[in-house]
């Protein structure tokens, strides 16, 4: 198990962003669905060791991130793409990816090939030496994905990774996810239901800081009513589950 969470909570002042999440995840692609404000980003930030949990237990890659040394070990094996990733405009694509490869404590000898591989994997080979300020939004997102995968992470956390990508790029990205999910635990937080259906082996649905569904995409689809709201069977399952969770206030 790469992720083991027990009753994890996160509070910001009076706002309970994450209200008790218990989860386990091994290798594979794990989708995190939910409306805005559901707590997905806060959960992801805790998994990325950017913020500590308010309470509860968390083991990442078998280690407790509360200790400095273990946290460092986790971070070396981690890849994170935040929802809003800023860029250094004067850096080139390669410089940006290389900078974060170094900050992840990658052995310097391995960095050039790893950076080249990451850049090629996100199809930015033709823009490798272009300055970031010259790139479109979708390309910048792909740069973000490249820095997240450069160290071949065992735990990959992607917050809205397909924002700004056109449909063809999204398809290629899902293929990349499937590749990465062979050996690593990939957590994709998104509000785009079709991304989840195509690439994820497991799905969790979050609402108001809790997990209201955890299972396979097929199981989520099965909860949908034929006449329910939603353009696709998975979407109908999504809205149905959300509605019933809100009505009953229970977790599945």
């Amino acid at each position: 198990m790469n992720i083991e969470l027990t009753d994890l909570t996160r509070r910001f002042g009076r706002n309970q962003a994450v209200a008790g999440v218990t989860l386990e995840a091994g290798p594979g692609v794990f989708g995190l669905l939910g409306p805005n404000g559901a707590g997905k980003t806060s959960l992801l930030r805790m998994l990325a060791t950017v913020i500590p949990p308010t309470s509860g237990r968390m083991l990442l890659l078998g280690r407790d991130p509360r200790s400095y040394e273990r946290r460092r070990e986790i971070r070396r094996r981690l890849g994170y793409l935040p929802q809003n990733l800023g860029y250094y405009p004067s850096f080139t694509v390669v410089e940006f990816v290389e900078y974060f490869a170094l900050l992840k404590d990658m052995p310097p000898g391995r960095v050039p090939v790893a950076v080249a591989a990451a850049v090629e994997r996100v199809d930015l080979g033709g823009k490798a030496r272009a300055k970031l300020r010259t790139l479109s939004g979708g390309m910048l997102r792909r740069v973000g994905i490249a820095q997240a995968i450069v160290n071949d992470p065992e735990l990959l956390l992607l917050d809205e990774p397909t924002a700004g990508l056109d449909p063809e790029q999204r398809v290629r990205f899902r293929a990349l996810l499937r590749d990465l999910g062979q050996h690593a635990t990939v957590v994709v937080s998104t509000h785009l239901v079709e991304d989840v259906g195509a690439a994820c082996t497991e799905v969790a649905l979050m609402d108001a800081g809790r997990i209201v569904f955890h299972g396979t995409p097929a199981e989520l689809t099965a909860r949908g009513a034929a006449d329910g709201a939603g353009d696709s069977p998975l979407e109908r399952g999504y809205t149905a589950t959300l509605a019933s969770a809100r009505m009953t206030g229970t977790r599945s």
Partner: protein, 243 residues
Amino acid sequence: MSGPDALPDPAPDLVPDPAPDLGRVWLGVVAQVWRREPGRLERLAARLLRSPALARALLTTPSLLVPWLIATVVVLGVGAGVSLGTGQPMVALLAPAVTAAAIAYAYGPAVDPAWELSCSMAVSDRMVLLVRVLAVFAVNAGLGLLASAVSGEAASVTFGWLVPMTAMCALALAVATLARSAIAGAMAGMTGWMITVLSVRVTSGQFSAALTRTALVLPYLAITVACTAVAVFASRIPTGGSG
């Protein structure tokens, strides 16, 4: 191959070799074509800090970039000129303010657009902050001392401003990390210094008293310690909204 004792058949029925992995070759090629060769300064910094990551982070500090350094030299140079002309210890009065601003722009969420990402790095953001702050301080102290020497200020004044400078830098850093804004930190540092100098002048009639009064050393040190503690605490947890 027949049985463990037999030699591999030396007849020319070599297993057909796999084709060369052109994909791997290509990656090896572009790794060299695309890589950025670190300059001499960066290589030296990497050896000193024992970390190429910290070296890179250091040399991309906004207030260590050439335009900023040039501006600092100009300001201090003007100060030195004024000192020579009027006898007022301008360099000593300017240096703390200039350095405080530089420190505020060394790091911080407002200056680092990829702040959130930096907080998930193995080389911690606080390590980067520490290295940058120390480097900026050292560089500015060096430039200040040079300007002081050139302007012929009294020795007590030449070194006297290092302690208040430390205090103002700590103040600037604390405000910058608390407010998550470099400009707030810079303003705080410069304003704090201005207030100190003016209020000391009011009580003692001299501008340079802010630098030479030994009674002030303790308050300066207290400010330094308090503000450093604030900065350390404030840089620990990035706040975030909901969602």
